[in-house]
Amino acid sequence: MSNGGTDLDFEEYAQARVVRLRQRAYLLCRDWHLAQDLTQITLSRLYASWRKVVKADNIDAYAAKVMVRVFLDHKRLKSSHEVVSDTMQTQTERVDGSGGPELRLTLMEALGHLSPRARAIVVLRYWEDHSVDTVAELLGVTPSLVKTQSMRALAELRALLGTDLATLVG
């Protein structure tokens, strides 16, 4: 991909990244329609500044920064509509190796129980594999805050997933 500054270059970049961007958005918001919107907003902002964006060292990191900030802004505005719960409301029925139904929480569902910023940190750190410093820069917070929130988020995931955490942490 040339990543020049033309509309064609943008379209090529967007088509190549749109699935991955939407997956990240879904991990952040846990709603496919909102994920679609977050992805669209991110791409539209990238498009509007494309000539500047292509000069950046890492376009993907820039896109991540835009998306996470749009997501956190959205959550701030929507905070009055959102109900925070410390109990499991739903569990996913899956089939285990023996063929019997097994009720358990998926990792994605567990992510949904983290605070928006903690979720963003976990997604950027462990799904995107960014360093602590990069995550701190993307979120506009200090590296120590990223470390602290990562630890807390993992502890919360551990509590939510129970025995499944053994699989998660290996």
Partner: protein, 306 residues
């Protein structure tokens, strides 16, 4: 840790079937183009304001502004006569005026579809103070309207919403568009429509609910769309089939009366645009107040007011 985390998430993604991506990239490009246009407008307005301040300082710029405060108004009206004289509506070949234009073309008992009724709200949505001034809503609207000259800017401000009016010409004559913006407190339902109003509701497009309506007996609100956004803002786009005489210069050319200047789908596009969020509106506000410092104010707007 990261590898295990990723592989678990990958396997969970493999088990779900996400909705199709569809035109997401095309829509993003379209929104990005609008965003670029907005930025250009902001830059243009800032430049015009700077030039205006300079000209005022030299004592030379008092004669150029139209009564609606629109920066390009006087030049447009000049095509129909002198800059200070409102142009008359054109006549058809039979000599009859092509428009239905009156001071108030809507009968007092005509059905209406107010975005928020005066309290208590029969539509059950409740309401709060509007987030923006008429000037800001007008500037935001200008960034998402289809191409074409616009005239007859006006605004209105009530306790629970802000309204603006604009006439747009896409080549077939001017048509009236009125937009109202407010905040809603509780999610709306689609089970109550006023008498004489045909309502249809749908979801999607990033909105809590998209409500389309038709009112045969109300040419100001002949068709319309109310978008209840997920961020708590509600945007109503009203597409008229008549023009209203007011304190603004009459537009030149042929008025559009039998066909609406934008379709319902285009009105939905406008209502679901990302320009209608508080951050974007805040960003537009300073330049909007400079661009439209003295909008004529309507005392009644889509059935609200007196």
């Amino acid at each position: 840790m990261g590898d295990r985390f990723r592989s678990m998430i990958e396997s969970e993604f493999a088990e779900v079937e996400p909705p199709p991506i569809g035109d997401l990239v095309d829509n993003a490009i379209r929104d990005g183009q609008r965003l670029r246009r907005t930025r250009l407008v902001q830059r243009g307005v800032a430049c015009a304001a700077a030039v205006g301040v300079l000209a005022l300082g030299l004592g030379m710029a008092t004669a150029g502004l139209g009564p609606d405060g629109a920066p390009d108004g006087p030049a447009r009206y000049a095509a129909g006569g002198s800059g200070s004289e409102p142009a008359r509506p054109a006549e058809t070949s039979g000599g009859e005026p092509s428009s239905s234009r009156a001071a108030n073309p809507v009968p007092a008992d005509a059905p209406t579809m107010a975005i928020f009724e005066p309290e208590p709200s029969p539509r059950g949505t409740g309401s709060k103070a509007p987030p923006s001034t008429p000037a800001t809503v007008l500037m935001a609207l200008q960034t998402v309207l289809p191409d074409g000259p616009t005239v007859a800017f006006a605004g209105s401000r009530f306790s629970n919403y802000t309204g603006v009016q604009v006439y747009l010409d896409r080549g077939a004559g001017y048509g009236m568009i009125r937009v109202a913006l407010g905040r809603y407190s509780t999610p709306p339902t689609c089970d109550s429509s006023p008498a004489g109003v045909t309502v249809d509701c749908r979801g999607g497009r990033g909105a809590w609910m998209v409500e389309t309506f038709e009112i045969e007996g109300n040419c100001v609100q002949r068709r319309g769309v109310t978008v209840y956004r997920t961020d708590g803002l509600a945007v109503q786009i009203n597409v008229g089939s008549c023009l209203v005489d007011g304190g603004w210069p009459a537009p030149p050319g042929v008025d559009s009366v039998d066909q609406q200047v934008i379709s319902v789908e285009e009105a939905i596009d406008i209502g679901t645009s990302n320009i209608w969020n508080e951050r974007s509106l805040e960003g537009l506000s300073p330049s909007a107040e400079q661009a439209y410092p003295s909008l004529p104010m309507l005392t009644t707007f889509n059935g609200v007011g007196s």
